[in-house]
Symmetry: C2
Subunit: 197 residues, 2 copies
DNA sequence: CTCAATAAGTGCAATGACTCAACTTTTGGG
DNA sequence: CCCAAAAGTTGAGTCATTGCACTTATTGAG
């Protein structure tokens, strides 16, 4: 009874989806703080306890598909085209992630969603933490790319600063320009220590 | 009965102090998460409601003297000795703040305190937020120091990165070296855009 | 000195997120 | 068809935090 992709997992995924859907609907209707976990569980027709078996907390209901952000970051560093430095690759990757989101803006609800996340402190904090959780992995990828020890401080610093730039970029009206200015610091500083790549 | 500023304010300050003391004792005894807000109120011999009239939350009980960190940061930039760049000044200021703490290490409890803050997520998060709240003020001070517009993105980035370095430095065994490596990025990058100071 | 305004403190009930302990149902492999 | 484990349920409980109504003490003005 270890692993098998049966109907069971489908049902589980389905309840999970019901919960995420119910949560999103309610949040957009009334606002995040005006919705209790009980309301969500009720609409998805499950118990509150079940809800917490599927999601680690109220905020997690909103960020359902956070899977491969880490893989994306690591890949952006590892598979960067030759001649592109690591800070440049990260800047482009972050800007692209921003834009990829904007594509979904076809859905009119997506604007509301983004706005809700931005000005609900609980949600923007959670999102920020989610990204910063990838700091160690990103630092490792950078260190490996330049042949530095895995716990090199300079690599950790670049990783953290790059990830922090994300919110700096997001909250500005002119993302491209903001990214350029924020990463100018990092690109020049990095080039001084690592002339190649 | 006694003199000077009314007895009322003295009593208020006294209960506040009792609460902070009781909290610190209990936290160090049992660990932050094993102490309820009721326990603290009981030991200080006040009601829970009173506790929350003095402190905004459970975490705030631990960080009683957080007053003028912002002023210190701004001053470090504004009053830096001639010939010292802004990133250098910030690096030294952060290292100094670190060391100033270490002076209190005469108290053997201080080591425990620092350890507790470091590996209690609720507390390290709170502390981090406390510092990052000064980002805007620091960015403003930097912008003024170089004559840039108050909302200059590069200045905001430097402010954020410098503040973020703090935890990067704190968690490393060799603070001086960590600070040098983390700020190497910033100093070189900053010098490229602002050759003077 | 008195009195009314004010602020500190109290008790209690409530809310809202989250957990725990038992118990029932569903399901899929053998 | 059986059975152990996963999924789900219920209900009670914890814990931080807030609101409300109330008492008590301090103080400043008259």
């Amino acid at each position: 009874m270890t692993e098998s992709t049966g109907r069971r997992e489908r049902k589980k995924a389905q309840t999970r989806q019901s919960l995420a859907d119910a949560a999103l609907e309610l949040f957009l209707e009334r606002g995040y703080d005006q919705v209790g976990v009980k309301d969500i569980a009720d609409r998805a027709d499950v118990s509150v306890t079940t809800l917490f078996k599927h999601f680690s907390g109220k905020e997690a209901l909103v960020f359902d598909q956070e899977d491969d952000q880490e893989a994306g970051l690591v890949a952006a560093v590892r598979d960067r085209p030759p001649g592109r430095t690591i800070p440049q690759a990260l800047r482009e990757h972050l800007l692209l992630a921003q834009t990829r989101f904007a594509v979904q803006a076809a859905d009119p609800r997506f604007g509301d969603f983004q706005r809700m996340v931005r000005d609900t402190p609980a949600l923007s904090d959670y999102s920020h933490r989610m990204w910063m959780r990838h700091e160690a992995a990103l630092a490792g990828a950078i260190a490996e790319a330049v042949g530095a020890p895995a716990d090199d401080i300079g690599c950790a610093a670049l990783a953290r600063f790059a990830l922090e730039s994300r919110t700096l970029i997001q909250r500005h009206a002119e993302p491209r320009r903001a990214a350029d200015e924020a990463f100018a610091l990092l690109e020049h500083g990095w080039a001084a220590a690592h002339p190649d790549s």
